[in-house]
Amino acid sequence: MNRETQASPTRAEMHGGAWRPWSGERQPARLRAAPIIRAGLRIALRKKLPLVLLFLPPVVATIIFSFVVYTVAALAQGMAPAGLGGAGGAMGQALGGGGGAGDFVKQLVRVREMIVGFHLSTDFFSVLLMAWFGAGLLAEDRKSGAHLLYFARPLTRFDYLLGKFCIVAVFGVLGSILPGLVIISVAVAASPDWSFLQQEGSVAWKTILFGGAWTLVVSSLVLAVSSLSTRKSYALAGVFAWFMFSGATALLLSRLLKDRDWLALSPVQCGVRIAEDLFDMRLGVRDWNTPLAWTAWGLLVALSWTVIWWRTRRLEVV
């Protein structure tokens, strides 16, 4: 440690006139969010019970869908797992097997439908995951005053928020994108000569796009609600209240006013519409304005980040 001694005009009793100029070397600017992400994930992974409870449904769903996709892909080749009684068996028939090579393309389309169906059915669980692990990120910092430690370091608000966002987003990716990619991998592996990849390969990037957009929307919303809350429990309640209230309002208004565009009020309904359009599917009668659904998602993200930015500016006052 470098020390230097100099005369001090106001010499403190215990100080003896010595002072210590800072001898360290300031690190060049780099991604300061990384330690926040690492620490946040490390803490989250220590909570074993929530991890098991919240990841179990997506994992089970992934296994089941993978098996079904594998079976359908096998049936497309005129084969079926022995456990299903072969292509001509009851299960094989139910899954559309035994139709011959002419149905091959249809079967691949069915695989795509299943993947989209999987996305929509696991959205709920991904919301659960992101809400549980993200709701306390800003609220608990506010409650404990931890931001005082963050911002006494060479850390910008952007780094701080990026770190927090990435923590939530990791759970979004694990709950939304990764299972979809696993099922696609199964479909690719089960289809002959990579035919699924050649014919339906776009499903992979569409899965990433859709899952990424969904993760962005939900993560932003979770963080915004967290920034408005003083406790994790309040933030959790707020997130679910938002989804339920917006969903109910969207359905009610669209039926009362007989205008499906009102469905844009619900992020979930927007997700369904966007998935239909993105994967070129028709899952129901929800034929409404796709750009409006994207716009609604975009506005929700913008609103969320406006709130987060404003609220984290106010963090200083705590």
């Binding site: 440690m1 403190a12 100080h15 002072w19 210590r20 803490i43 909570k47 005053g145 963050y150 200083e316």
Partner: protein
């Protein structure tokens, strides 16, 4: 060495003000804080925490300016790298172990992994928590949590350590150890600025204080120098004597003595505006009167009394 670094002051505030809506945090505060150990004093709501947050760069001034180590601290990484801050709030993550917590904050400061780990361990050793380094913070007592907060503030060997109520929650042994740590930091050359309500502990550590009241500067300097400015309050001394009545009779006529009160069990309280005359004359007077002085002590030289006087005279 830059000019700022060679400056004798670690903090320079000029007309500093910070408002929370209609509430005044600090107002028109102009103060230069020298290198060394300085105590920041004031009652609740005096603006101590606001001032410390302003100088730690946690808050932006509403008006005026503040410089810490020669630069404005708000959102200034160069200042934050040289400054250690221990907030009053709990601010710990219960699921982390002590060493992970300190290491994490060091990583935020830009330390590499191994360097951060060894610095974290060294800091925990300094606050005597190295045995509990792998325990989760959620299981720590209040005093241990306080020591962890202090550890993170000193781990990167900052030039200026700012501590908001660092003695709160500590038992007497831990208080003693913490004060000793502050002495060591000062001896190593770090400047230590801390706020506290425990006045006698400030006296044990430093004679240099800043007193705030209602967001404004009440006084700054050595305790004795501040006391000397309080001319309107006569100095009060307690004298215990075998024959206190006779001694009282002799002291009443002494120059500068305003009053002599006889208390129980041979105790006298003398108020004088010329303490130097009293101190000079007392041995002779006591001897001549055969009063038999058993004890003599000042009643208002201490910080507590200075603080009370200043508070009483504050607007």
């Amino acid at each position: 060495m830059t000019q700022a670094e060679s400056s004798a002051h670690v903090v320079r505030a000029k007309d500093l003000a910070r408002f929370y809506g209609d509430v005044v945090g600090v107002c028109d505060l102009s103060v230069d804080i020298p290198r060394g150990t300085v105590g920041l004093l004031g009652p609740n709501g005096a603006g101590k925490s606001t001032f410390l947050k302003l100088l730690a760069g946690e808050l932006q001034p509403s008006r005026g300016s503040i410089e810490v180590l020669g630069a404005p601290p708000f959102a200034n990484p160069a200042v934050h790298a040289r400054l250690g801050f221990c907030p009053q709030q709990d601010a710990l993550w219960d699921d982390m172990t002590a060493v992970e917590f300190v290491e994490f904050l060091l990583r935020l400061s830009g330390r590499e992994s191994l360097a951060a780990r060894s610095a974290a361990l060294a800091a925990l050793e300094r606050v005597q928590l190295v045995d509990a380094k792998d325990r989760r913070l959620g299981g720590f007592s209040k005093g241990m949590r306080q020591r962890v907060r202090i550890a993170q503030a000193i781990a990167h060997e900052p030039e200026l350590v700012v501590l908001d109520e660092p003695l709160t929650g500590l038992d007497p042994l831990a208080r003693h150890a913490t004060l000793e740590l502050f002495r060591q930091l000062a001896a190593e050359g770090a400047s230590v600025l801390f706020s506290t309500h425990v006045l006698h502990e400030v006296e044990a550590l430093t004679q240099d204080v800043v007193l705030l009241h209602k967001g404004r500067l009440l006084a700054r300097g050595k305790i004795a120098a501040i006391r000397a400015l309080l001319d309107r309050h006569p100095r009060r001394y307690s004298i215990r004597a075998r024959d206190s009545r006779r001694l009282a009779r002799e002291l009443v006529g002494l120059e500068g003595v305003e009053s002599v009160q006889l208390k129980a069990e041979g105790l006298l309280v003398v108020a004088t505006r010329r303490p130097e005359i009293l101190l000079e004359s007392l041995p002779g007077i006591a001897s001549a009167a055969r009063a038999g002085i058993a004890s003599f002590e000042s009643r208002d030289e201490g910080l507590e009394a200075v603080f009370d006087y200043l508070m009483g005279g504050a607007p």
